[in-house]
Symmetry: C2
Subunit: 110 residues, 2 copies
Amino acid sequence: MSNSKLYKGSLNTIILKLLNEHDKMYGYEITQKVKALTKGELKITEGALYPALHKLEAEGLLDVEVAKVDNRLRKYYKLTETGTKETVNKLEELAEYIKTMQALVNPKLV
Amino acid sequence: MSNSKLYKGSLNTIILKLLNEHDKMYGYEITQKVKALTKGELKITEGALYPALHKLEAEGLLDVEVAKVDNRLRKYYKLTETGTKETVNKLEELAEYIKTMQALVNPKLV
DNA sequence: AATATATACATAATTTTCTTATGTATAAGA
DNA sequence: TCTTATACATAAGAAAATTATGTATATATT
């Protein structure tokens, strides 16, 4: 994912937020979108992404729809209602995380 | 550590930064300091903290000094020179992480 | 005096999340 | 023809945490 270990635990937040923005996306598209948005800083590996998508689907946060484009398989994922609610939670947690870490590394400013 | 998984991977950064601020600290003191600075948001568990301290020491980032206070053992940790350099790296990584995540969750602002 | 809580360390089993490696298959470009 | 891009998947292993224990002393409460 990156040389930094801080991204551990962030993958679900990233997936959910992207699906919240783009309605429906397929796995490979997510990897490319993340690469583009972060200017190459962050690369989502397939070994991390696909199991994560399967798990989110199993938990009922994502719905999947299979399509065939140019004779190739695509699995489009979209948020369920529960998934949309969970996205809000994840984003709140991210904001809280950033606030907390800033309190720790920059105690004078907080 | 917290209900949020985002803290996974942040523990070393937190330890190094606190030691950078406070010169020398012992394990239990670190747990209390984190609790206080984050107003209870973040609780470092012993099962995470002590192995992390041992590893940082084994990697040469921390020096340890044992003391007896009130007939109880304390292990004071302090940054080595390498540890101080690594603290700078970790803080840069944290800043980069926050920047990257903001690009992902708030693409319009970036 | 007895009991609970706080201080202070430690580790072992398990879980979660990721990396690395590998596999299949089609399309497009050099 | 061969490499790169597209598109999925999983398995083995590593890393970092959780949860559960364990030891021991000091202090506060009942």
